[in-house]
Symmetry: C6
Subunit: 273 residues, 6 copies
C-alpha cells in the first residue's frame, strides 16, 4: 500500500472532509477494515448518519466514493456495467462497482437488502480473499481490485423481514458496525455544523428529539432522526414558526394517523414556541 493510504491522525484531517463527529469507535473499525481489505456492513436506523460516515471516511482516506441506492429492481448490470448501443456500434459502460474496482475506491451499496440476489451475489468474490470481480458480459474478464478498493454496504435492521434479509453467506464476509442516533452533545454539534442553529433553540430541538425517541409508541415504526431535526432547524431559518416547522419536518413524515400526529404535536408544543 502507498502512503496516500496512510490514515492521517485526527488533528490532520484535510479541510474538505465532510464533518462527522464519531460516537464510539466506528471510524476506527471502519479504517481498520479498510486497511485489512475487509468489507464493511453498516447497520443503523434511517437518518442516523450512515451516508455521512462513509463520505467522511472516504475523504479522510483520500479514495473516491461510489454510492449506489439499492432497490428491488436493481440487477448485476446496474453495478457492473452494460453495453450501450451508440450510433450502430456498442460500447461498454462501466457500472459504479466496476469503476470502484478499477480506481481503488469505496463502493457504497446503500440499503443493500433491497437489491436483487444477482446484484448482491456479484460482489461475493470481491468480498473474500479473492478481491476479484468477474464480468461475464465481457467474456469472463476478471478484474483484480486495485489497492484501496473497499466494499461497504448499509442496511436498517428495523426494516428486515423474512423475505428480505441479507444472506448469512454475504454477512459473514463483512465486518459489522452497529450505529444508532448520537447522544445529545454530539447531535448538538451536528445541528450547529449543518444549520448554524445553536443555543436555546438547538437545545430545545435536541431534547424534543430525545423525548420522541424515548416514546414507547406502538404506532411509530421509526423515530425522530437527526436528519429530521436538521430539517426542522432549516425550516425555522427559512421563516416558519418553530412549531409549524417541527410538525412538518418531524410529526408529519412519522405518521399518517391523526391521533399519533396529534400526540407528537402536543410534545412539540411543550418544547417549542
Amino acid at each position: 500500500m502507498s502512503e496516500t493510504l496512510t490514515m492521517p491522525d485526527h488533528n490532520g484531517v484535510p479541510t474538505d472532509v465532510p464533518t462527522y463527529i464519531p460516537v464510539r469507535d466506528e471510524v476506527d473499525v471502519f479504517t481498520a477494515a479498510w486497511r485489512s481489505e475487509l468489507p464493511v456492513l453498516l447497520k443503523g436506523p434511517t437518518g442516523c448518519g450512515k451516508t455521512r460516515l462513509v463520505e467522511h471516511v472516504a475523504a479522510r482516506l483520500g479514495v473516491p466514493l461510489y454510492t449506489v441506492c439499492c432497490h428491488e429492481d436493481m440487477t448485476a448490470s446496474d453495478l457492473l456495467g452494460r453495453f450501450v448501443l451508440k450510433d450502430s456500434t456498442t460500447e461498454w459502460v462501466d457500472g459504479p462497482l466496476t469503476r470502484a474496482v478499477r480506481d481503488g475506491g469505496i463502493c457504497y451499496l446503500d440499503e443493500v437488502v433491497e437489491a436483487r440476489q444477482d446484484a448482491i451475489v456479484s460482489v461475493h468474490s470481491l468480498a473474500d480473499h479473492r478481491r476479484e470481480l468477474n464480468i461475464e458480459r465481457l467474456g469472463g474478464l476478471t478484474l483484480k481490485a486495485a489497492p484501496g478498493f473497499q466494499l461497504v454496504v448499509s442496511y436498517n435492521p428495523g426494516y428486515q423481514s423474512v423475505l428480505k434479509d441479507l444472506k448469512m453467506s454475504t454477512r459473514q464476509r463483512m465486518v459489522g458496525i452497529d450505529l444508532d442516533f448520537p447522544p445529545a452533545e454530539v447531535e448538538m454539534q451536528v445541528l450547529a455544523a449543518e444549520t448554524g442553529v445553536t443555543g436555546d433553540l438547538a437545545d430545545d430541538l435536541i431534547r424534543l428529539g430525545q423525548t420522541i425517541r424515548r416514546l414507547d409508541d406502538a404506532a411509530l415504526t421509526e423515530s425522530a432522526s437527526t436528519r429530521a431535526l436538521v430539517a426542522t432547524a432549516r425550516l425555522i431559518k427559512a421563516g416558519l414558526p418553530p412549531r409549524a416547522a417541527a410538525v412538518s419536518a418531524i410529526a408529519s413524515p412519522l405518521s399518517d394517523d391523526d391521533e399519533t400526529r396529534g400526540r407528537l404535536t402536543v410534545l412539540i408544543e411543550s418544547y417549542l414556541t
Copy 2:
C-alpha cells in the same frame, strides 16, 4: 438564488397563477421547504386539491412544473430518461425528473406509492443534502440540481396498505403537509371560481357535500370530493336537472352498491330540486 426565485407577497400574485385558496399554512410551509431546498410530501384524500396547490405554488415561484402520475409499472427510466432508437442512431431523451433537475423546476410525483421501488429510490440522492441525480445509463453522469429544483410527492393515506407504503427512509427526507377537504366558505369560493355557480345552488351543493362527508357509512371508502361538487355544477350548467347531475357526478362514482347509492340519492333529493 436569483431574484426570479423570490416569493412575491400575497397581494402581488401574478395574474396567470391558478387560483388556490389556502386553508391553513400549507402555502407557507410549501414555500419555506422550497426556500430550504427540502422536498415536500403532500398527503390528503382524492380531489381535495393537491394538484392545484402544486400548480399554484409553482406558478407563484415562477418555476416550471413537471407532473408525473405514478403507477405500478413505472420504472426509473420513466423518470430519468432513456435511449430512443432513431434512424439507426440512438438518442438520449431526458425524463421529467431530469428535465426538472436541469431547469430548476418542481418535479411532482402524483400518487408516489404506486411507483416501483427503483423509481422511488432513484430520487433519494436528490432528496437529501446531496441534491444530485445519478444517471447510470449515461455512464454514471451526476447532475447537480439547478437552483429552484424541488421534489414534491403526493399520496393518499387512506389507500395505503402494508404492501404499498412509502418507505420510512423516503418519508424522513421530506417535509410533510397534511391536507383535507376545505371548509364551507373556502369551498364556496372554489365553486364560484371553477364553474361560476353561486348563490343558493352553490350553498345547497356545499351543504350536500359536507353532509356526505359527515356520513359514517362503512360502505363508503371515500367521500364527496370538492372535484365531484365542481363536476355536479358543470353538469347542471350543461342542462341536466340538479338531482340527475348530483347522482351522476357524486353518488355513482362513490359506489357500485345499489343500496348505498340509494341512501346517497335520498340525501341528494333532500338538498337539491
Copy 3:
C-alpha cells in the same frame, strides 16, 4: 366548439346512427358530460348494451369513436402508441387514445378494470381539468385534447374483486351512468330491430329472458342478456328449432353444470316450442 359538435334534437338523428332505445336518462347524462368535457364511467352487466350506447352517442355527436378492449396485459403503450421498427428507421405509431385526443373523438375503454395500472393512470391528466396527454416516449410531448374529445370507460360491477377494482382517484374524475337490462317493451324493440323477430316468438323470448333474470339461483353468476336473446332469435331464423336455439345461446353459455343447465332447459321448454 364548432357546430358539428351541437347535439341534434331527438327527431333529427342522422340515419346512420346505430339504434339505441334509451331506458332512462342515460343518453342525456352522457351528452351533458360530453358538453361539460367530463369523462364517463358506464356500469352494467354483460350484454346490456353499453357498447351500443357508446356507438349511438358518438354517431349522434358526429365524433369518431376509438374502442379498446382492456385486458390484464395491456400497457400504456397500447393506448398511447409506440415506436415501430421499419426498414432500419423507427416510426412512431399513435395508439387509439392518442388518435382520439388529436381528432377530438371518443376513446372508449371497454372493461377498464382489466387494464394494468400504468394504462389506467396514463389517462388521469386527460380526465381532469387539464385535458392533457403526456407522452414521455416522445420526449415529454404534451398534447392538449382537441374539442370533442371525451374519455369513456365501462365496467361490470358484478365482476369486481378486491384485487381488481377501479381506484377511487380514477372514479372520482368521472360521471357515472348505471345501466341494467332494458324493460320488456324496450327489449322487444331491440329484438325487432336486430333480428326482425316480432310477435309471439319475440314475446316468448322476452318473457323467458325476464323469468331467468328473476331466478335467485346461486349457481348463476350472470343472467340471460339482451345479447343472448338476440342470438337465440338469429339461430331460429337460421333454421334451428326454438328450444335448441335457446339451449345453445342462453343455457349453455350461462353454466357448465349439468343440473343448472337442466333447470334452465326446463324453463326454456315451458316458454318455447
Copy 4:
C-alpha cells in the same frame, strides 16, 4: 354470402371430409351458428372428438381451418401476428386469427381458457355484431371479417378452476355446444373407421371403455376416452397382446398410482385376453 358457403345436404358430403358421426344435434347447431355469424363454444372432456367435429364441419362448409392450441404464455401477438426482423427490414407476418379473418375461415382456439387474457380479449370485437379485428401494431388497422369467418373455442369444463375460467363477457358472445363421449353404437363406428377393428375385439374394447367411465373412482380425474380406445386398437394391430395394449394406452395414462392402475388392470383383464 357466396354459394360455396351453402351447406350441402347430408347425402352430399364431399369425400375428403373427415368422418364424424354425430351424437345429437351438434353438427346442426354448429352450422346454424356459422350461418348466423355467431361464434361457437365447444365443451366436453379430453378425447371426446371436439377437434374432429371442427375439422368435419369446416370441410363440409368448404372453409379453411386454422387451429391454435392455447397455453398460458400465449399472447395476442400469437393470434394476430408480429413483425419479424428479416435482413435488416421488418416484415409483418399474420397470425392464424388474422389469416382466418382475411380468408373467411374458421379459427379454432383449442383449450381457450389456457390463454392469457390479452389473447382472449383480442377476439371480443370479432365475436359480436362488429365482426372486426383491430390490429394496433399495424397502426390501428381494422379488418372486417370476410364472409365465412367463424370463431370457435373449446374447453373442458372438468378442468376449470376459479383462477382459470372463461369470463362471462366472453362466454355470452358464444353459442354453446355441450359434448360427451359417444354412445356404444357410435363409438363402434368410430373404432372401425379409425383402426379397422370390428367384431368381438371392438365390442370388448367399447364395453371396457364404458365400464371404466361408469366407475365412481375418486382417484380418477378423467376417464377412458374414445381416443384411448382407438390407441389400444392400434397397438393391438401393431402386435401387442390386447391386455398389454390396454394397460399401456388406457390405464397408464389415467393414473400414476399403483393401486388405481391395479384396479384398472383387473378390469382390463376381465374384458380382454
Copy 5:
C-alpha cells in the same frame, strides 16, 4: 415406411446399440407405439434407466435421437427454433423438436413436467392423428412429421405436485410405460456392463441397494438408484475404500440430515468392508 424402420429381431441387434436389459415388456410396448405412430410417456424414479431405454430403442430402430432436458424456463422456442441475428441478417435455427420432425427421429423430452405450458402444448398436434408441427414464427409453416418421428416424454411420478403435473389432455395422447428399479439379476448385469465389477463386490452392492430400497424411512424421498450403485463401483475402482465410496455416492446424495445419513452408513458398513 421404408425398410430401415423394420425392427430387427433381438438376435440381430446392431453392435453399437447401447446395452439395455429389459425387465418386462417395456421394449416391446415402446416399439409397438413407434410402429403405431403413437407417442410414449415413460414413468419411473430417478436413475432407473429411462434415458438408457430411449437410447437403446432409438439405436435399434436406427433413428436419430434428440434429447431435451426440460426446465421451468423452457419455452416453445427452445423446442421449435428461433431467429438468430447473424451479421445484420437473421437466420432461423431449428430447435431439437423441429429437427426430429424433419429427420424422422425420436424427440425425447426428459422430465417434461418441468417445462412451461407453451412448450408442452406446442407438441399436441404432433401427438395426435395430425402428426403436424405448426411453427407460427415461420409464418404459420406446418411441418408434417417424417416417417419414423416419435415423441417420447419422461417424468417421475414421485415428484409431481398439484402445481406441476402433466395435463390430462397431454397424457391421454400417449402410450404409458411404467418403469421401476430392475430386479437383482438384471441390476447385476447392468453393473458388470457399466463398470466391470462382478462377483462378491457386485453382489454386496446389489444387496445393499435392495435393502435401502426396502427401507420405509420417511426421511428419504428417494432411494438408492441403479445409477448410484454404478457410481459407487466406479469410485471403488478409482481407489476409494468400498465404505467411503458408498457413503459418498449413495448416502450423501440421498440426505442432508446427519441422522438419516448415519442410519444409511450403518447399513453400508454391514454390507461393505
Copy 6:
C-alpha cells in the same frame, strides 16, 4: 487421460497450490470422483472452506478452475454463453461452463440451489455418462467434455427450504462430500497460514469460536465461521483491540438483535482482552 492428470502424492504438492489442511478424506473422495469422471456435491456451512478446498484440488490436479456464484436470476445463458452485439455483427462469447468443458477444467457452481432451474438442468447431460453439453443457441451444437472436466457444486444444507432445494435427479448424479468447521488443531494451522497469528492469541480465538459453535442459541441461524476468526485476527493485526475486532468481525455479522449480540460480547470479553 494424460499424465498431467496424475495426482501428485501429498509430499509433491506444487508450491503454488493454495493451502488446504484436510479434516477427513474429503481430498481423496474429491480426487477419486475426478478420476472417475463423476461430479461432486460439496455440502457445509458458510465459511468452512468449501471454496478453498476446490481451489486446492484444482491446483493439485493442474486443471483450470471456473467459479460461478449462483443466484436466483442466473440463467442457462450465464453458464453457457451468449451472443453479444459488437459493431453490427454478433459474436458468441462462451460462458464459464462452456469454457471448462472445452478446456478440461473444473466448473464450480457455488451455492447452486440459488440458480434457476434452467441453469441447473443445463448441466444434467454433463453430469451423467454422456458428459456432453448441448448448446441450443448454437444450433444444437453438442460439446463432448474434454478429459479433466469436472462439475462441482456446493450448497449449505442449513439454508435449504421446500422452495429452494436441489432436485433429487440432480443430486443423484453427484458424489457427495459433507464438510463442517475443522477441529481446533486444524483451525489453528489455518489461522497461522492466513494471518500469521499464533500462540496465545490464536489459542484464545480458536477456543472462542468453538464455544460459540457449541452455543444452543435459537437466535443464531449460523455460527462463528473459520473465515470470521481469520477476519478477527486481521483486524487485530491492523491495530484494533482484540475485543473490538471480535465484536465487529464475529458478533455483529451474526446478529442484528441487541440481546443476542450482547450475549456474544460477554463471551468475547471472557476470552479476549
